[in-house]
Amino acid sequence: MWVYQKMLQYPAKAGYKDVRMARNILTQYGGPNGESSASMQYLNQRYSMPYDEGRAILTDVGTEEMAHMEMVATLFNQLICGATKDELIENGFDAYYVEHGCNPFYVDTASVPWDAKYVVATGNPEVDLYQDMASEQRAKATYENLVKMTDDPVLKETLRYLREREIVHFQRFGEVIRVIQERYGKRDKKGRIRYYELEEAADAAE
């Protein structure tokens, strides 16, 4: 269950109107490495996670990514607010405007709509966690590229905050991998790595 709190995690602010940047920032909303992909991925992976540490971290990080989605959408709203017709056409944003107006939509910078293909869930906790770590690093790299693409110091500050959070999430996922490898990653007589209690129960019954 989720509870909405009427506040942003961090005051998302843009210094001035910038239609070009609004378009670029959309990739973190509905792009392959964006916050919605991350959130959907983590919250979806919880159901095959057999360890409580993993369940907790996937829930909490997935929830925080939702808060980041709201921040990115707020940034988009502020960057595009008050844009004129000429500005939209100049920055190649008229086609987007015709379809979605000033509302953020789940598309990347090339207007490719969000796809469930961006999300990975294999059912193997270790593989999924490595994928999550990679997702965090990709999101971090995207934020770095976005920071490079703007001169607005206020916007940069918000993007830097979001980038920092990706690093923290990366650390936590790495710790979960370490914990589960220490506890359950021991090889059995047949040389297989143990992942599930279910597997062990099946072997005991043999």
């Binding site: 509870v3 909405y4 709190q5 009427k6 506040m7 942003l8 995690q9 961090y10 005051p11 540490e53 907790a56 971290i57 909490d60 990080v61 925080e64 709201e70 959408a73 707020t74 709203n77 502020q78 595009i80 607010c81 008050g82 844009a83 107006g101 000033c102 923290v168 999430h169 936590r172 710790e175 979960v176 914990v179």
Partner: protein
Amino acid sequence: MSFIEDTTDYNVMRELMPEREFVRKPEIPIKVPERPVRQPEKKPDKNLKPEIPWKPEIPWKPIKPKPEIPCKPDCTEQEKMMQRIAECQFMALETALYLDVNPDDVCILNKHNYYSSMLKEMIAAYEAKFNTPLTNYGASECRWTYIDGGWPWVKCAGERC
């Protein structure tokens, strides 16, 4: 130990295949573990103090509040309080993420509890002072003021793009 009865007729088998030896398998006796003798339970002494099952190794220290991050000069009282709540919430979230993976770290747990309780108080104070519930589970007087006071993504209240 065998559950199936050995019904082989060894005399017939010997006649059929004289070169092979047919010997009845020796029966392995089943070991029955001895039942442990039950000791009468001792009645707990009421005068003794109950033992604490787990004691944190690190001594619990009071947390020193960090100096406040200055707000913008033109911010209102409400914005100021909201910033404090956001700061507190950030600390609680950060420690919570760490505790998810390291649930036995007493030092960080202490910190988390401090910020968690402070956050609760601050939200209660904010909601009481400005009569605006932060969540739709909150209460408000006279009017449902949850919808008032601007939404976080709106730059200027009442303005449309």
